[in-house]
C-alpha cells in the first residue's frame, strides 16, 4: 500500500508528464536574479499585475448583473448597489481597484524611467509597457462610460466633441465613436465591447508579453552611477552579476512583491469598504441640464487643461500633443538605449519627471474645484454681504440688487462667495474708475461677456455706484484727467493722484 505522499507524487507525475507546464514554470519562477534588485522599489510591476487580475475577477462578477443597455444600465447599477447582496462592495472594489491600478502603473512607469530600466536590452519591454499604460487608461475611460450616468453621458459628449475636431474625417470618427448619430444604446454597446472584450484582451496579451520579456532579459539590476549600459557589454555584465550574486527570484526576491501586493489589495478592500462605490450620479437623461459634468479622477487634469487652452490653440493641441507624447514615450528607448542608468547622472530625466508630476498634480487639483466654471446658482444662493451695504445710499443698494439679479455672482465673488471665473469684486473700485467699470460692464472684454444689452442705463448707473463703494481700505480710483477738465469739481481730499487710465 503506497503512502499518501507517494500517491501524491504519482499523481503529480501523471499530470506533469501530460501537461508539461509545471516544471518549466517553476523553473522560470525560481530563475536567478541579481541580489541587488531584491528591493522595495521593484514591487510595482507585480502589484499592477495582481490588480489587473483583481479587476478581471470583480469585472466578471459585476457582468453577472450589469445590463449593458442604455435602457437598463443605470437601473442595474441601482440593483447592484441596493438589491444584490454585496453588490455595492463589488462595485466599490472594481472602482477603487481601477484607481489603484492607474496609480500603481504610473508609479511603475516613473520608477522604470528613473532607474533607466528601459535601456538595452529592455527597449521593447518598455514599449509594450507604454501600450499597457494606454490600455489601462482606456479601461478607465470606458469603465466610466459603463456607469452610464450623467457624467458618463456628457463625458461621451466631450469625447465626441474632441473627435469632431479632427480635420476631414471628424464626422465619420464621431459616428464611429458613438455607433450612430447620437449618444445612445449603440454607444453603450460598443463601449461595453471595448471595456469587456477588446481592451482586456489586449491588456492581458500585452501583460503576458511584458512579463515574458522580463523573464527573458531578467529584472534590471540596481543602477549604479558610472555603470554605463553598452550594447556590446551589458548582457555579459548582467550575466556575470547573476552568476556572482544571483538569488532565486522565488522565494528570495519575490516575498517583497507578495507582501506589497497583499498590502495593495488590502488597501483596495479598505477603500471599497469604507468609501463605497462611485456613483452613479443622475440618470443619463440629457434633458436634465442642472448638471455639472466631471470626469473621473484620472482624467481631471485633461478636463482642466481644456479650460485653459486658448480657442485658437485648442484643436491643434488636442490633436497633436497626445500623438507627440505617445510617440516620445515609445521612441524613448531607441534614442536613449545606452548610457547612464542612475538618476543622479540623468538630471534631465529627473527634471522631466518632476515637471510632469507637478503639472499633472496642479491640473488635477484645479480640476477638483474648477475655478473657471461659473457657479450656476450663486446669484440665488449667495447674498450680498451685509457689511458692504452699511451706510449705503438707496442708489447703491439698488446697484447691489442689480449685481444680484444680473447673476454677476455666478462669475464674481464677494467676501469669498461666488464664482471664480472673473476677479473678486470686494475691492474693485480701488483699481478701476467709474468709467472703466462702466466700459467693462457694457462692452465686456478679457473673459467677460458684454452686458450692454442686458442692462438699462439706470441699472448700469446703480451697479456702478454700488461697485464704487467696494474699495477696501484704499481710496476709490479716480480719473485724474477728468478732474483737470472739470476744474469746478474738487477731487476727493483723501484720493491719491492716479495715473491717467487709457481712454476706452
Amino acid at each position: 500500500m503506497a503512502s499518501l505522499k507517494q500517491r501524491a507524487l504519482a499523481a503529480y507525475e501523471w499530470l506533469e508528464s501530460r501537461l508539461g507546464l509545471i516544471a518549466p514554470l517553476s523553473k522560470a519562477a525560481a530563475h536567478p536574479t541579481p541580489a541587488n534588485n531584491s528591493s522595495w522599489w521593484y514591487v510595482f510591476g507585480s502589484a499592477a499585475t495582481v490588480l489587473l487580475l483583481l479587476q478581471v475577477v470583480t469585472g466578471i462578477l459585476l457582468a453577472l448583473v450589469y445590463s449593458p443597455s442604455a435602457n437598463e444600465a443605470w437601473a442595474s447599477l441601482g440593483v447592484l448597489n441596493h438589491s444584490i447582496a454585496l453588490g455595492w462592495y463589488l462595485r466599490a472594489l472594481h472602482g477603487w481597484g481601477s484607481d489603484f491600478m492607474i496609480a500603481i502603473v504610473l508609479i511603475h512607469v516613473v520608477q522604470v524611467f528613473l532607474f533607466g530600466a528601459y535601456k538595452f536590452p529592455r527597449e521593447l519591454t518598455w514599449m509594450v509597457g507604454v501600450g499597457l499604460l494606454l490600455l489601462t487608461l482606456g479601461m478607465a475611460f470606458t469603465g466610466q462610460v459603463m456607469r452610464f450616468d450623467q457624467d458618463a453621458y456628457w463625458g461621451l459628449g466631450i469625447g465626441a466633441s474632441i473627435m469632431s475636431r479632427v480635420p476631414l474625417i471628424g464626422e465619420p470618427l464621431v459616428h464611429l465613436l458613438l455607433g450612430g448619430p447620437i449618444i445612445g444604446g449603440a454607444t453603450l454597446s460598443r463601449f461595453f465591447t471595448l471595456h469587456v472584450f477588446v481592451v482586456p484582451g489586449l491588456l492581458l496579451s500585452f501583460a503576458f508579453i511584458h512579463i515574458f520579456m522580463t523573464l527573458k532579459h531578467g529584472v534590471s539590476d540596481w543602477p549604479m552611477p558610472g555603470r554605463i549600459v553598452s550594447k556590446a557589454t551589458y548582457e555579459r555584465e548582467y550575466h556575470e552579476l547573476v552568476v556572482k550574486t544571483g538569488i532565486p527570484f522565488v522565494p528570495d526576491a519575490a516575498w517583497k512583491d507578495a507582501i506589497f501586493a497583499a498590502a495593495i489589495v488590502f488597501a483596495v478592500m479598505a477603500c471599497a469598504f469604507f468609501f463605497g462605490p462611485f456613483g452613479p450620479t443622475g440618470t443619463p437623461d440629457p434633458t436634465i441640464i442642472q448638471t455639472v459634468p466631471k470626469p473621473d479622477f484620472a482624467f481631471l487634469w485633461i478636463y482642466a487643461l481644456l479650460a485653459f487652452l486658448p480657442a485658437s490653440l485648442e484643436t491643434p493641441v488636442i490633436l497633436i500633443a497626445p500623438v507627440l507624447a505617445i510617440a516620445g514615450m515609445l521612441l524613448l528607448p531607441l534614442f536613449a538605449g545606452e548610457g547612464e542608468r542612475h538618476w543622479a547622472r540623468r538630471p534631465v530625466a529627473v527634471l522631466m519627471v518632476s515637471v510632469i508630476a507637478v503639472t499633472l498634480g496642479i491640473f488635477t487639483r484645479l480640476g477638483t474645484y474648477t475655478p473657471w466654471s461659473p457657479i450656476m446658482d450663486a446669484w440665488t444662493s449667495a447674498p450680498i454681504p451685509a457689511k458692504y451695504l452699511h451706510n449705503s445710499t438707496p442708489l447703491e443698494r439698488q446697484g447691489a440688487l442689480v449685481l444680484q439679479d444680473k447673476q454677476c455672482r455666478n462669475c464674481h465673488s464677494l467676501n469669498g462667495v461666488g464664482g471664480q471665473r472673473g476677479p473678486a469684486l470686494d475691492e474693485v473700485a480701488s483699481h478701476m474708475t467709474e468709467d472703466q467699470i462702466i466700459r467693462q460692464v457694457l462692452q465686456g472684454g478679457g473673459n467677460m461677456p458684454a452686458y450692454g444689452n442686458a442692462l438699462s442705463p439706470a441699472e448700469t448707473k446703480a451697479l456702478m455706484r454700488f461697485l464704487m463703494t467696494l474699495h477696501g481700505d484704499l481710496a476709490p480710483a479716480i480719473d485724474a484727467s477728468r478732474v483737470l477738465t472739470h476744474a469746478d469739481v474738487t477731487p476727493p481730499a483723501q484720493a491719491m493722484p492716479q495715473p491717467a487710465p487709457k481712454t476706452p
Binding site: P181, G185, P286, P293, P374, M376, K406, N410, P449
Partner: protein, 219 residues
C-alpha cells in the same frame, strides 16, 4: 520534459555543406511549394472575409450625417412667448429602440417675434456640455469650462471658438418644427443639408414660411 519536440533533421550537427544543401532542398520541395500556395489561398480567403467585417465595423462611420435626421415638432408656437428663451424637449428622430433616456434631446427656443425663432442646441460648441440660459443677464453659460454665449447664440467669452449650434426650423400652422439628427458637434452641426421631403412638409408650411427670417428653411 520542458524542451519542445523538434524535427529529427534539426537535431544533431551534420557538416555545414550538407546542412545548407538540405535546407535549400527543403525550401524547394513540392510540399513546400504547396504550403506556400496554401498560405496565399488563406490570404485571399482572409481578404474576402475581412472586407464585409470591416464594412460592418465602419458602418456607422460610412453613413453620411447630413442624410440622417428629420423634421420634428417641438410643440405649439404659443408655448414660446415672444421675447423669451425656453427649454424644449423632443425625442430624437434618429433614436433606436434601445436608447432609453438618452433618446431625449433638449434645446433652447428663443422667440424673437411672432414668426421669428432661434432654436439652439443644448450642446456647448466647445466640448458639448449642456449650456444653461440665464434670462436676467441674457447669457447662456456652460458649466464645464465656462463658455458664455449671448442671447442670439453668438460667442460671448470662454473657450468656445464659435456660437451655439442652431437647428433649422419652420412653422407648420401653429407648431414649431425643427430638423434634428446628429448630436451637434463641430463636425456634425445641428443643421441638416438635406432638402425637406415633400411628404413630411405639410401644405401650411408654404404659407407660414413667407414672413419668417432667413434662418427658416427656404421654400
Amino acid at each position: 520534459m520542458s524542451e519542445p519536440l523538434e524535427h529529427p533533421a534539426a537535431s544533431g550537427e551534420p557538416d555545414i555543406d550538407a546542412a545548407t544543401a538540405a535546407a535549400k532542398a527543403v525550401l524547394h520541395t513540392r510540399r513546400a511549394f504547396i504550403f506556400k500556395l496554401s498560405v496565399m489561398l488563406n490570404a485571399a480567403v482572409g481578404a474576402v472575409l475581412a472586407v464585409p467585417l470591416v464594412g460592418y465595423l465602419l458602418g456607422p462611420a460610412l453613413k453620411k450625417g447630413s442624410n440622417t435626421g428629420s423634421w420634428i415638432a417641438l410643440g405649439g408656437i404659443d408655448d414660446f412667448p415672444v421675447g423669451e428663451t425656453r427649454l424644449a424637449e423632443f425625442r430624437s428622430p434618429v433614436a433606436n429602440f434601445d436608447d432609453g433616456d438618452t433618446a431625449k434631446v433638449a434645446c433652447w427656443v428663443r422667440r424673437i417675434s411672432t414668426q421669428q425663432f432661434q432654436v439652439f442646441a443644448i450642446n456647448c460648441a466647445h466640448l458639448g456640455c449642456p449650456v444653461r440660459w440665464f434670462a436676467q443677464s441674457k447669457l447662456f453659460l456652460c458649466p464645464c469650462h465656462g463658455g458664455a454665449y449671448y442671447e442670439d447664440g453668438s460667442r460671448a467669452s470662454g473657450p468656445p471658438e464659435r456660437g451655439l449650434f442652431e437647428y433649422k426650423y419652420r412653422i407648420d400652422g401653429n407648431s414649431l418644427v425643427i430638423h434634428a439628427g446628429d448630436m451637434p458637434t463641430l463636425a456634425t452641426e445641428a443643421s441638416c443639408k438635406q432638402e425637406p421631403l415633400i411628404q413630411i412638409a405639410p401644405v401650411e408650411f408654404e404659407t407660414a414660411s413667407a414672413a419668417t427670417r432667413s434662418k427658416q428653411w427656404p421654400v
